[in-house]
């Protein structure tokens, strides 16, 4: 949303650097009286580098937590930007270049084409401030050049 098209969602994706020993402490912040979560699923996500979720039962909101298990996710954390949030505080958000890499990775893994559309939408914003040359280089380093080329083809078609 910040870097691309405006659209609503009922979930928020969070990349976390998490150890198994930290899982109980994290989940304790979300009491089961108000939230759904599964500690075994969280521990499995830590073990496999997968994802787990926490659901706000009253408001119908979901947090998808992705355990950082590769260089792209680690880059997302390392290069995150601190941006304002409606409460008046701040939170860390992925930089657009790393977000594009992650979306291209998901696309390459066979996930929805929404990710390709998102990337093209981010790049084609008139005010986009995205270092495309750096994305292209990183795409090559992470074996995503074919997806980057698909993004370029899609931009030409749009």
């Amino acid at each position: 949303m910040t870097y691309g098209e405006l659209r609503t969602t009922r979930d928020v994706d969070v990349v976390v650097s998490l150890r198994g020993v930290d899982v109980p402490r994290l989940l304790a912040r979300f009491p089961l009286s108000d939230y759904y979560h599964d500690e075994a699923a969280a521990l499995e996500a830590v073990r496999t580098g997968g994802e787990f979720n926490i659901i706000d039962n009253e408001r119908g909101l979901r947090i998808d937590l992705f355990v950082a298990d590769d260089e792209i996710a680690e880059r997302q954390i390392a290069h995150a930007r601190r941006l304002g949030i409606p409460s008046g505080g701040t939170a860390m958000f992925s930089a657009p270049e790393e977000l594009i890499l992650m979306k291209m990775k998901f696309y390459a893994m066979g996930w929805t084409e929404k990710h390709l559309r998102d990337v093209a939408g981010m790049l084609d914003r008139p005010d986009a401030q995205i270092d495309e040359a750096r994305v292209a280089v990183l795409a090559g380093e992470y074996g995503l050049s074919h997806v980057w080329e698909a993004v370029q083809r899609r931009r030409q078609q749009d």
Partner: protein, 86 residues
């Protein structure tokens, strides 16, 4: 977020590449929550979500462009809401 069980087994060709069509199926637990809501609650949730989204975008834009006035931020939010037709 999409998951492996969202696969359809149906393939198509896009950008010269044959890919399986993957759809995003809603979370079963979220569906149960939404089903328990009255129509008024659903409308209220939609309105709150839209309001939050616009406030979040404004806050993020202000962080990315600290030199912008509140009027400039609001105009950019409106422009994006109107899909750049403003």
């Amino acid at each position: 977020m999409d998951r492996a069980d969202n696969r359809t087994g149906i393939f198509h060709t896009i950008n010269g590449e044959t890919r399986e069509i993957v759809v995003e199926r809603p979370d079963r637990r979220l569906l149960e929550i939404y089903s328990s809501w009255t129509p008024a609650q659903r409308l209220q949730a939609a309105a709150e979500q839209t309001r939050y989204m616009l406030q979040a975008l404004a806050a993020q834009l202000q962080s990315l462009h600290p030199d912008w006035s509140p009027q400039q931020v609001n105009r950019e939010v409106a422009r994006r809401q109107l899909e750049d037709r403003l």
